[in-house]
Symmetry: C2
C-alpha cells in the first residue's frame, strides 16, 4: 500500500458540508445542544421516565431536560407516552430512527475512552508552555 500522504499538495477541498442543505452534516448529533447525545445514550436500554433520566444527567434542570426531550421528539428520535394516572407517569423511548443514533454515539464514546487522556495531557502540556512565558 502506497503512502497516502504524498509530498505534493493534497487535492483542493471540495467540501460538501453545506450542499446537502445541512450546515451540521458533519455533526448532526449535536441536534441542538449538549445534552441530546447523553439523553439518547440513557434511552439505549429501553423506555425511561423523566425523573429516571435526571439521575445520570446529574445537575440537569427540569427545564433543560424538557427542552432536550422536546427537540428529540420533534426530530422523530424519541416518543413521549403519558399515562393518565395519579401521580402522572411519562415515559420516553427511542424510535427506530433514534436507535440509529446509537452507532455514532457509541463511536464517539469509544473515542473518548481511548483518547481522552491524551487530549487532557496535551491540554495540560500546552498550559504549561503558556505558564513558562
Amino acid at each position: 500500500m502506497p503512502d497516502t500522504r504524498d509530498t505534493t499538495a493534497p487535492a483542493p477541498l471540495t467540501a460538501d458540508f453545506f450542499d446537502p442543505a445541512c450546515p451540521q452534516s458533519a455533526m448532526p448529533i449535536r441536534i441542538g445542544e449538549k445534552w441530546a447525545g447523553m439523553v439518547v445514550a440513557c434511552l439505549a436500554d429501553g423506555p425511561r421516565r423523566f425523573s429516571e433520566l435526571k439521575v445520570p444527567l446529574r445537575g440537569i434542570t427540569p427545564k433543560v431536560l424538557t427542552e432536550t426531550l422536546r427537540a428529540l421528539e420533534r426530530d422523530g428520535m424519541v416518543t413521549r407516552t403519558a399515562y393518565p394516572e395519579t401521580p402522572p407517569r411519562v415515559e420516553y423511548e427511542l424510535t427506530d430512527l433514534g436507535r440509529t443514533l446509537l452507532g455514532p454515539i457509541q463511536a464517539c464514546r469509544e473515542w473518548a475512552a481511548e483518547n481522552l487522556p491524551a487530549l487532557l495531557a496535551a491540554r495540560e502540556a500546552h498550559q504549561e508552555g503558556l505558564d513558562r512565558r
Copy 2:
C-alpha cells in the same frame, strides 16, 4: 437471536458520563463548538492553509476559524506551522491524535447521509401537526 427488548423494566441507569471527569464524554468531538468537526474533516487529506480552510466552511469568519484552530491546537489535535515568508504562509495539519477523530466523524457523517432525510421529514410532520391545531 433473542429480542433484547424484554418486557420487564430495563436495568437502572448507571451512567458514567460524569465519572471520568469529563462532562462531555459522550460527545467529545464537540470539542467546544460547532466548527471543530468540519475543520478536522477538511484536514483529513493533508495540511491546509488558513484561507484554504475558509472556502469549504463558507461564511466562517476569520475570528471563529482562528478560535477553532487554537482550541484544536491546544488539545493536541492539529499543529500550526508558520513559514517566515512574504506573504506569510501558515499550514495546519492533523496530529496522530487528531487523526483518531476521523473515525467518529466519519461515523457521524455517514449517519447524516443515511438518516438526515428521515429527521427532516419527521420535523416537518411535527410542524404540520402543530399547524393544524
